[in-house]
Symmetry: C2
Subunit: 284 residues, 2 copies
């Protein structure tokens, strides 16, 4: 997928420029926010937001603030998840995590600040409806509930259904909101929204299955973090519950279904189709 690589590089450079633009202070808290925000994330969520908008005829520039706000929310959740009281991770994307590079108090506040800034950015550019979709996905019935379940699940053996529910909250909700908010702002009709919701549900779950697989057989140097940690923490994962081969087949089926959901769209949905494939082929 050489085309997708160029597409992602192109989008990422403008997403990074957009993100830089929102934090211009030289205070220590701004430094910590920038440190985590610009640590080289894959930018999957903002790219999905833009690609969904373009699929229904919208423009990148119009949805860029939404895309940036979602990446801020994603980054805040990583900073807080990495804290000693949660996953206690020292390394993220090959760099010390925020609380290691700064300190715990600063990391908590940098996360808080990124979450708050996301809503400030959304408020300045977008409708209440869009903000509500994103807040709902990020909130205590979505992403935060997912993290609660993730913590509660440590050391326990979940059923496949429980694991799927966990991931639908923890990563699925915000991925879905990325796609839907972009498309909705670009004026998608209800049939288009339904197709995109289907697409997002499938790639969101596939994303997590792929993450689980990378934690088993990924290359730590490329991933920028340790592997084998799920097993040592006795986490319920797809490879643990269904084996590695079945997990790979499951991820593949999810991606096929995701691409099938896009049948009503024309060539402008090509990036969304490529991203779906990339999600299970990526090495990091």
């Amino acid at each position: 997928m050489p085309d997708l690589k160029a597409y992602l590089n192109d989008k990422n450079s403008r997403i990074n420029a957009g993100l830089q633009n929102f934090i211009r202070e030289n205070t220590r808290i701004a430094e910590a926010m920038r440190y985590s925000l610009m640590a080289g994330g894959k930018r999957i969520r903002p790219v999905l937001c833009i690609a969904a908008a373009e699929t229904v005829g919208g423009s990148e520039a119009d949805v860029m603030p939404i895309a940036c706000a979602i990446e801020m929310i994603h980054t805040y959740s990583l900073i807080h998840d990495d804290l000693p009281a949660m996953d206690n991770d020292d390394l993220r994307r090959g760099k010390p995590t925020c609380h290691v590079a700064f300190n715990e108090a600063t990391a908590i506040l940098a996360g808080d600040a990124l979450l708050t800034l996301a809503f400030e950015v959304l408020a300045k550019h977008h409708s209440g409806q869009i903000i509500a979709i994103i807040a709902d996905a990020a909130g205590y019935k979505g992403m935060i509930e997912g993290q609660m379940r993730d913590i509660a699940a440590e050391g326990k053996l979940l059923s496949l259904e429980e694991l799927e529910q966990l991931h639908r909250c923890k990563t699925g909700a915000l991925i879905e909101a990325s796609v839907i908010s972009g498309a909705m702002f670009a004026g998608a009709d209800s049939k288009q929204i339904e197709s995109l919701r289907n697409y997002a549900g499938h790639i969101g779950l596939a994303f997590q299955v792929a993450d689980d697989i990378l934690n088993v057989e990924g290359d730590p140097a490329i991933l920028g973090k340790a592997v084998g940690t799920d097993e040592s923490r006795k986490k319920s994962t797809y490879p643990a519950l269904m084996g590695l081969d079945k997990s790979k087949a499951f991820a593949k089926t999810l991606i096929e279904k995701a691409i099938e959901s896009l049948n009503i769209f024309d060539v402008r949905a090509e990036p969304l189709r490529d991203i779906a494939r990339y999600i299970i082929e990526r090495k990091r």
Copy 2:
């Protein structure tokens, strides 16, 4: 001020009902959110929001969601400030703090969830302008910067000017946003906004001076928390920098100036005037 007591009781009962209404789940995270949100706060900020709206002819019901959202933001900031990595407080309003009653991870997430819910509530009911005012006050140039300065100041002797700057960020910004958002949503003109901004600036600072005084000579049983902690932590406070008597005189002057700022308003500003007096006369 028997009238103010009735006024506050009346407002508080409807604010509490409003807050209860926004969190109806029975999950553990919802439990933690409710625990801190309903722990018997004074509700100063939501009352200010409503009183400011009523001063310019608005209605309580219209601004209630704004008032509730601001109290959620205030509560999230208390939960995070109390964490071991920050102020490490075990007691708040006479009850174990959130991380003591639940655990640290849940407290971090409950704070995150209250902040997110605040913006969801605002998004469903209010304009981008109002959301931006509140997000700006709560964000990394406002309340969060205040907490950063507060942590950095521990063990150091600040100048009076530095102390005022710290408090203008840490508590002043959200108090100002409470007053301004309520008034603005109720249709205040720019002259009214200016007067109210002046009022809020003065009571915000007076509130902190009064807090510092209560930490010296308050009754722990009424306060619901230990006193003398500022001194043992060597915190820069008004009593430490200017002495107890001068601090009391300073608070009184601030309140007089706050009340003076309300001269352009009629009898409907009476609650705001009473609240100003209450801020330095309160025992908790």
